[in-house]
């Protein structure tokens, strides 16, 4: 064999494996590419669901009511711990976890266990120093976000709550969950030894989220809540709520509930028979249609007036009452007769115009529309009873809206709870623009009704609502609650007061409702709460006095 041939054979022997490998590579890369890529993906990479950042909720003045704070979940991997005593000392010193707890966790868990979640940055910093100083290994730290509320429980009924994965569960947190939260981020990470993960450095940081501004005033909300709670405890009520609205714009300034629970905002969710607070609506409607004049008087029929064989009773001393007096003493017969004169159709029409029987545009979760039956189904006694606030059911936000219409000259304004949404980069969507839904009553009618309501506070049942130096207007209400058997219970009441301040140039419309106070309380008790809340708002907004003392 020639030397040349031998070289060729050697070259072939050397090249053959390379050719085989190249052929195999070609086959794998070309024909089995998809299958192998999938295998690699599942073996090398994994997906983790990130605990995402959540936007802030602020009050109308930019005070933070809820935000997400970066915190840490601290855990231990037993297998990797080199000095158990030093590790426990670090945890006890920095995180305040007792040795007993740590020992129990150590004994109960096989390898991995969480020591503490929601560890704040200063706690984490302290722990890091201690761990480094002790040269301890086996500590695992997981970044997370914790929802924090700087003002603690202020407006918790409106704000609602989130779960441990930062998802809205109730209230505004749930209503605006999509806006407040980033899309649940699924992040592709490399697998590491021992079940660990390696984050890709090129992954963009957490995206910024929009901020939701409420129309609520945090300071006013605090005072409303604390005043309501004080009286609710004093009167041992089952529940209570207070709602404050800006009379001219429809913006909700405070919405307090007792007892306060996450996302249970009674001013929007509680529907009840308004009782005498509805009399102002009936009188306003009658004045607007011209069925009555302010100078008219109505006979009391010896305090017994029969409709459909049912006797409506009253306790008035005078045989006749003027329209003003009917509201001042809260006469049932008086307003029943006015409602009767108006007729079911007109009553129904005005109730609708005032916003009753339909949900407010606030659209708070669980908000009912109230009950306003179609007028063809009203019997004469239903119309008469509607005159003093029975047979219909309203929500707080509806009643406050109707009183605001009387206060502001006859316009039903759209109620607002969300002021604006501010997106990262500064772009904002203003939601709380004053929007007139419709004119409900003429301006003159509104002025006359407001004047009558002012007299209720000056001379009538609402005297507890007075605030020194200010003209106040409003109406008390007491209604019996219906039992489960469908009868009115004489022992179960709802006491309420709705009014506005200061009369003449109204700024705030306020409703206070006490559900089942222990003793038979009348609206006067609610009027006292109204007075305190009104005084706080007049103070906060520096509204000048408008009455000589």
């Amino acid at each position: 064999m020639q030397a040349r041939d031998r070289i060729k054979i050697c070259a072939f022997i050397c090249a053959a494996p390379a050719l085989i490998i190249a052929a195999r590579l070609f086959y794998l890369q070309t024909f089995r590419h998809m299958e192998l890529a999938d295998k690699t993906e599942s073996r090398v990479y994994t997906q983790t669901t990130e605990n995402t950042l959540r936007g802030r909720i602020l009050d109308r003045n930019g005070v933070v009511l809820a935000e997400s704070l970066p915190t840490y979940a601290v855990a231990v991997s037993k297998r990797n711990v080199n000095n158990r005593a030093a590790l426990f000392a670090a945890f006890t010193g920095a995180l305040g976890v007792s040795r007993q707890e740590l020992n129990k966790l150590w004994q109960d868990k096989r390898n991995f266990f969480y020591v503490k979640k929601n560890v704040t940055p200063p706690e984490y910093e302290d722990l890091e120093k201690r761990v480094r100083a002790g040269r301890v290994t086996g500590v695992e730290v997981e970044p997370q976000y914790t929802r924090i509320y700087p003002f603690d429980n202020v407006a918790q009924d409106v704000l609602g709550a989130t779960n441990s994965r930062n998802k809205g569960l109730s209230g505004i947190e749930l209503m605006y969950n999509k806006i407040l939260s980033q899309e649940q981020q699924s992040r592709r990470v490399k697998r590491a030894r021992g079940g660990g993960i390696i984050y890709d450095n090129s992954h963009p940081g957490p995206a910024q989220t929009p901020d939701v501004y409420l129309t609520i005033d945090a300071t006013g909300q605090y005072y409303t809540e604390s005043i309501l709670k004080k009286y609710a405890l004093q009167h041992k009520v089952k529940s209570a709520f207070a709602l404050v609205q800006e009379s001219n714009t429809g913006e909700i300034l405070a919405a307090a509930s007792y007892p306060a629970r996450d996302g249970r905002a009674l001013p929007f969710q509680f529907s009840y028979e308004p009782g005498s607070t509805f009399k102002s609506i009936v009188v306003a409607a009658a004045l607007d249609t011209g069925s009555i004049k302010v100078s008219d008087s109505i006979g009391m029929d010896d305090n017994k007036w029969a409709v459909d064989g049912i006797i409506i009773r009253d306790h008035q001393e005078k045989p006749k009452l003027s329209i003003g007096e009917i509201l001042e003493v809260s006469s049932n017969i008086g307003t029943a007769k006015i409602a009767h004169a108006l007729g079911a159709r007109t009553m129904y029409s005005y109730a609708k115009k005032f916003g009753f029987g339909v949900k407010s545009n606030v659209a708070f979760l669980g908000e009912p529309g109230g009950i306003l039956r179609d007028y063809p189904r009203w019997r004469p006694i239903d119309t008469a009873k509607a005159g003093y606030g029975y047979t219909i059911s309203v929500t707080g936000v509806q009643l406050v809206g109707a009183y605001s219409a009387i206060a502001n000259g006859g316009n039903l304004m759209q109620a607002h709870l969300i002021d604006k949404i501010v997106y990262p980069g500064g772009r904002e969507t203003k939601l709380a623009r004053p929007l007139k839904i419709r004119r409900v009553i003429e301006e003159n009618t509104a002025r006359q009704t407001a004047s009558l309501l002012e007299n209720v506070v000056e001379k009538g049942t609402g005297q507890n609502a007075r605030v020194k130096g200010y003209r106040m207007a409003g109406k008390t209400g007491t209604s019996e609650k219906m039992s489960q058997e469908g009868r009115y219970e004489r022992s179960l009441h709802i006491a309420s007061f709705c009014g506005f301040a200061p009369a003449g140039a109204p700024r705030f419309t306020i409703l206070v409702v006490l559900d089942e106070p222990e003793r038979a309380l009348f609206g006067a008790a609610a009027a006292a709460i109204f007075s305190e809340i009104a005084a706080k708002f007049l103070n906060i907004y520096s509204v000048p006095a408008n009455k000589e003392i």
């Binding site: 700087p150 604390s226 140039a505 520096s542 006095a545």
Partner: protein
Amino acid sequence: MRAIYIILIGGLFLLFISMERVQRQKTGHRVAALMEDIEFKKARNQYLRYRLGVYNSPDKIVNAALEDKMIVTEPRNIVVLEGQSAGQRQD
């Protein structure tokens, strides 16, 4: 001789590349550590602002004021500096 020069230049080039890579790695680590530090400081800053918010909450301020026997004035006593004095009739 020419081959030696080529090998020498090639070697130097490879040395430069590897040094640059090492340096890049070091800088990367430093940047990552700084970024981590910034994130942590931001978180701590946010936490301190939260604590300030807690101390500035109406609840805390009202309680502190009550402890010092401070009383909130009635709204009618407020003097508006635009010329409208307290208790003055406006309409």
